[in-house]
Symmetry: C2
Subunit: 143 residues, 2 copies
Amino acid sequence: MSDRDLSIGQVAQRTGLSVHTLRLYERKGLLASEVRRDGSGRRVYSAWDLQWLANCVKFRASGMPLATISRLAQLVREGSGNEAERLELLRDHQRHITEQLAQLSDCLDLVNGKVASYEEHLAAGATGDPWQRHPQPAAQAER
Amino acid sequence: MSDRDLSIGQVAQRTGLSVHTLRLYERKGLLASEVRRDGSGRRVYSAWDLQWLANCVKFRASGMPLATISRLAQLVREGSGNEAERLELLRDHQRHITEQLAQLSDCLDLVNGKVASYEEHLAAGATGDPWQRHPQPAAQAER
DNA sequence: CTAGGTGCTGGACCGTGGTCTAGGTCAACG
DNA sequence: CGTTGACCTAGACCACGGTCCAGCACCTAG
């Protein structure tokens, strides 16, 4: 109908998902509105579907399991009346992302530290190996 | 030998990994030094092993695949001479984490936005549903 | 008419990262 | 002595998220 309607291939291109994955997502109920089909049974995605899928991609990228996205989609599909539950779900994910961020930046510190020490090590021309498994009997201030 | 030696159960406790996982990691070569065994074949972890494993946990938490950790462990096991490669590997991961952080905070923005709009929506008592699949013919400034 | 491109379905297959089971050893406790 | 609890190995099993294949339907262009 709309001139913004897209085929599965086009949606694949612009979401970065494969057509296989798009069909998988549909089977798993990740779509918040049923995909229309054209006369010969081919999927027709609206601009809104594309939007939704783009959000799904972000949810996935932030570690939301397919099952959860599916649940959210279901709530949206069911329409008004369950906003509280949607909010709860989103808040959970919000918390989840925040935790991940904290963890990740912690890991980044570690890696930064190691990188720095290897850079030094290499620049200085191989003095004692950083990160070696013979830390000498003595205590090690690595913390 | 050292009084800081640990059994697998103890290591499990303090790393948060299960004993199963610890054995798995060992089989996959994630350990940078061979685990010692006591008289009856039981694993004996040194404080250094624990340290290493704690790092492994962080690597995993930041999305490093077991195979990569294994590679790094191998390099460390092989001793001096391959520091450049270790550094490269670490730098790759550093980049990887940085990308993840960017992505994640992007996702967080999205979720924050949604959460905010649902909060409003609920506070205001169910006016038009945010995130509904009937966005009206008109354009939507959601970007 | 035929070939190429795109799409459809259902189901098989895959890599990753765990998790658990069976069957056994060992040490300590009561 | 027997039981309990921690550990051992090898290998099965699992969930997840994709990815791919066979076999078929369309449509359009040459």
